[in-house]
Symmetry: C2
């Protein structure tokens, strides 16, 4: 579904990534942008397909997913406001991850070739874009270090802290991820997630009830994350 886009100048993107663009330059980008609505579960970007558009997410929570041999691995979870697809544009315009809506989402599709043209003509903009995309990669690498080195207590602690700090900005939140998705994020089986959550619950470090999570003892959780 497509909306009008007359309010681009008020967009959060204007003040952040695009802050070094002139009004004319930003206008050129905005005139090609279109709003989309995604339902929970919709594929926003599809791994291994050609990428023609970036998506600026204005509402909702998404997961970045790598698929190999049928099994999913969640590389990152992110929420509005954020630009999606950056990691794709630097090489061959083939999507490296899939991006899938965890909640209903709104997004604004930005024409990739226009975006690239702007990058070519505005060096500071290019540096902003590069910086953002390497941040994304570094985050992914840090995540994999966690998965590669820690055992499940530590990984689950990592995931909970990440969600609390970066996504829900609260010690108490309602999960948008299923148990299976938590497992794909933490790199273990869903049963292991359930066991670990229950243990943390019984030790009064967190309170779990279905999708409702509350972190009761953040210090202890941070220690578990560190120790592994």
């Amino acid at each position: 579904m497509i909306f009008d886009n007359k309010k681009c100048v008020e967009c959060h993107l204007r003040d952040t990534l695009c802050k070094c663009l002139s009004d004319n330059e930003f206008e050129a980008l905005a005139s090609y942008s279109r709003l989309y609505v995604y339902k929970k579960g919709d594929v926003i970007l599809d791994q291994d397909t050609k990428c023609f558009e970036l998506v600026y997410l204005t509402k909702g929570v998404v997961k970045f997913v790598l698929n190999n041999d049928g099994r999913e691995l969640i590389v990152a979870v992110d929420k509005a406001q954020t630009l999606i697809g950056l990691a794709n544009i630097l090489n061959e315009d083939i999507n490296y991850f899939s991006v899938i809506a965890l909640t209903d989402c709104n997004g604004c599709a930005i024409n990739l070739s226009k975006f690239k043209m702007l990058m070519m003509n505005n060096k500071s903009f290019m540096f902003e874009v590069m910086s953002l995309s390497t941040q994304m990669f570094r985050g992914a690498i840090n995540n994999f270090i966690s998965v590669a080195r820690k055992q499940s207590n530590g990984r689950v602690a990592d995931v909970l802290i990440y969600l609390s700090d970066k996504i829900y900005n609260s010690r108490k939140f309602v999960l948008d991820l299923s148990r299976q998705e938590l497992a794909d994020f933490a790199g273990c089986s869903k049963e292991q997630i359930i066991h670990t959550l229950r243990n943390l619950n019984n030790d009064n470090i967190i309170k779990v009830s279905g999708k409702n999570i509350e972190i009761l003892d953040f210090e202890k959780l941070a220690t578990i994350s560190k120790v592994g």
Copy 2:
């Protein structure tokens, strides 16, 4: 130790990453470059320190290492000819990995601010650089996927195939990595590496004798890598 650098125009770097630079531009870069000699074990770039120079490796094999809590994790292994430090320059000029010589190495240090200046003034060059640095990150992520999802047979197979294809370009090679380093690369204990190598040896898939490795049945090894 520092050599003269009159032969920069013959450097492999000139024909690859720097192919889109004019003679003047390349000259500007070369006039600031200096040759260094590293002994096996030397730290070429040090994690978490400020980075003033890129290093173009002209001889030798190196490992990219992430350190956390005393334990090492090898992110990648690379050999000459290759440019080292790219992943660092996109953000805050703080080295994200350490780079350590696995063999005696020669390298050519390139002034980072000159390099950046060239990037700012030559868009195609900037795209070349960006492309190279994202390749590096994608490689790292693929490596971590392997570590995160496969069990030790698959990981060891991955490592052997990587070394055979990308580093030694032969089915038969002499390892520059210790058993501990193989373990840091595959994300498991050194004992597990030894067990797995012996099993592969007993199954006549590889032949191991100390540092000497020969891949006897590449197809079978590739299958093990896929299956996990």
